[in-house]
Amino acid sequence: MRARNLWIGGLLSAVFVVAALVSLIWVPYDVTALDIANKIKGPSGAHWLGTDHFGRDILSMIMVGARTSIAVALVAVGIGMGIGVPLGLAAAARKGSLLDELIMRGNDLVFAFPSLLIAIMITAVFGASALNAIIAIGIFNIPVFARLTRSGALSLWTRDYVMAARVSGKGAARISVEHILPNVLNLLTVQGTIQFSLGILAEAGLSYVGLGAQPPIPSWGRMLADSQTMISFAPHMALFPGLAILLTVLGLNLMGDGLRDLLDPKLRRARA
């Protein structure tokens, strides 16, 4: 059951990663070339998933859109980890100190802000673009990783091997890097997968309200937004990008679950 999750999830995610990679060198049709005469055609031999309202090939759009989604989500998670993990490590290393308190209250504060509103505000300041979507999603990833790292690190700080490292004269920073970080990596991998899938959902949501990647770069969320008014007579335009989001997120979540089972011995034991 566990391994199955990992396999199905991995396979689904791989399909989209491969599609994104392939799109770098080849797509069935150029997604920037419009073909108004062939607009809104259902799936056919020439266009497997049909064409959109500008006559672009939906399959090609989904492939390139995968690239956008994956890139945005990946970088956003990267930002979250890059900032959140050091903060979490620092907070744990100085547990109970002013620094810890500041970091944790800061986290609470970010959590308290409605994320979509902040994204809207960020784009109101800097304009809509994939970069700003990344920043908006990234900001909200920071407290997630900071908290997770801190709680994971706190339990590690009570381990005897940390005590042994201190007896060896190592400072908090060094211990955090050498002992704590490698041992919270499992936790981070699992959460990273989940945040990645949430990032894809968030990117879709932002693009859907027009705040994500700008045309002509295809993005799944914008494909849905574009298809919205046509759903009653051209359902294929909404169906395929929607399914692409659904399946990718599903795949990543399944993979996250599978990874958790694989990497987290505590859960493995509890479930045995």
């Binding site: 419009l34 607009k39 109101a124 045309p215 002509p216 007579f233």
Partner: protein, 469 residues
């Protein structure tokens, strides 16, 4: 059935037509609740409104308006010459927040002759004055209701304002004491549905009886095919243009602008962005206007010519520029198509989608743009080309002279001649890319009669609307 739910996309920010640019205010209130001295007819003609008749002095600078008898505001007070004077003075005052202050620019004095007569003096003859007085920004308001006008508008129209659920709807009811032909409906509800999908769903589910300015042209064929509905596709005063920053290199070169014009396939844009709704234009003028000249031939789709022109202008490999798009779908969709068409001749555009506030800030006021798409919906607005500081920065003294002449001219034939020359001049200068005249689709229950088809101004005049049994 004597009540109706009419939906539209935009909600008025507040209910004072004389202190905001929002067309949505007029859409709800113009001629339904508020009336001016003159009023627009459904064909765009200027007809008597609160003024039953008027005389114009020989030199064209003094207008004497005779008001209709028995006109009452909704609060019961009588409308008289004092109210007219108040309204016009308020609009042209120093601290006035009227969005179209230019309409009142020439007025030097407003005098009450007697309760039913008012005299307006201009600083010079103005051929547009009666037209100007028909605008929503020139409606007559009462001084005693001015305090709360933004939330409780009190006018003289055939409907009275009753209720506003912000974010949702505005209710009007029939004004029993109306001075003119009374309305046929007892109750009117305006509902605001900004999302096009929601708009489609609301009409389909018959949650609303009519949708004026239906935002998604792609859905119109479905309504047309459905016997429950009628679809009226009217004309508007909205010239949709590819505005070009005439001061920004390389667009300061007329060859480049001409190249852009020939790179654009209007029909593809109308088909792709508007699903076929819209009339191609070749200049900044409404095609339904009798003075319109069809100049589309001057900027026919010819990518090869376009490339040649670019090469002549010194850009054989094209260039890069920005394309800033405001929210409406004509701009967003049209922008994508134009970007693709320009790319075909070597012009790379970087698209950025902006909110209105950003567009106003960056494009309109900041003039920080290469290209943009926008529909100029003000009626009869070719005069903007005479303003060198206007955002597309067209500075041509010859054209400015034409407009001065036009304002001073009252003779219809002469005016027509000047207008035609003006149209041709801007088309020749390829000031902007002229795309199409915005269509105005209204979807309504098949049994509703008396709706305006065209939109000569942003108004939803419901005074003559009724349900057919």
């Amino acid at each position: 059935k004597s009540d109706i739910v009419v939906a539209m996309q935009l909600e008025p920010p507040h209910l004072d037509p004389t202190s905001a640019a929002a067309g949505a205010i007029d859409s709800v209130l113009y001629s339904n609740v508020f009336e001016g001295l003159t009023r627009f007819g459904s064909d765009g003609s200027v007809n008597p409104g609160l003024a039953a008749s008027w005389e114009i002095s020989e030199d064209g600078t003094v207008y004497t308006f005779h008001l209709n008898e028995g006109v009452k505001f909704h609060d019961g007070s009588a409308m008289d010459a004092e109210d007219v004077k108040f309204s016009l003075d308020r609009a042209r005052a120093e601290d006035s927040a009227n969005a179209q202050k230019a309409l009142f620019k020439g007025i030097t004095d407003v005098t009450v002759v007697d309760p039913m007569t008012v005299k307006v003096t201009l600083d010079g003859p103005n051929g547009n004055f009666l037209f100007n007085m028909a605008w929503g920004d020139a409606v007559i308001v009462a001084p005693e209701s001015i305090e709360n006008i933004k939330t409780n508008p009190v006018g003289t129209g055939a409907f009275k304002f009753t209720n506003w659920v912000q974010g949702d709807k505005i209710d009007l009811e029939k004004n029993a004491d109306y001075w003119g032909t009374p309305a046929k409906l007892d109750k009117v509800t305006f509902k605001f549905i900004s999302d096009p999908t929601a708009a489609f769903a609301a009409v389909m589910a018959e949650d609303v009886n009519a949708f004026v300015g239906f935002p998604a042209p792609e859905n119109l064929p479905q309504f047309e095919a459905d016997a429950r509905f009628q679809v009226l596709v009217g004309s508007t005063e909205g010239e949709t243009i590819l505005s070009t920053n005439n001061k920004m290199p390389p667009f300061d070169n007329v060859k480049v602008r001409e190249a852009v014009a020939h790179a654009i396939d209007r029909q593809a844009i109308i088909d792709g962005a508007m699903f076929g709704y819209g009339t191609p234009i070749g200049t900044h003028f409404a095609p339904h206007n009798p003075d319109y000249v069809d100049l589309t031939g001057m900027s026919a789709y010819d990518p090869d010519l376009s490339k040649k022109l670019l090469a002549e202008a010194g850009f054989p490999d094209g260039f890069k520029t920005t394309l800033k798009l405001p929210p409406p779908s004509y701009a967003r969709r049209g922008g994508e198509i134009i970007a693709a068409q320009l790319r075909a001749v070597g012009i790379e555009t970087e698209i950025s989608n902006l909110e209105w506030a950003q567009w106003l800030e960056q494009v309109f006021r900041g003039k920080d743009f290469g290209l943009t798409i926008v529909s100029h919906t003000e009626p009869f607005d070719i005069g903007i080309y005479a303003r060198p500081d206007y955002y597309f920065q067209y500075d041509n003294p010859a054209f400015q002279q034409l407009m001065t002449d036009l304002n001073a001219t009252t003779d219809p034939a002469k005016r027509s001649e000047i207008l035609k020359e003006a149209q041709t001049m801007i088309a020749k200068d390829y000031v902007n890319g002229y795309l199409f005249e915005l269509a105005f689709p209204t979807v309504a229950n098949a049994k509703i009669k008396g709706l305006w088809k065209d939109a000569p101004t942003q108004a939803t005049d419901l005074t003559a609307v009724y349900w057919e049994d």
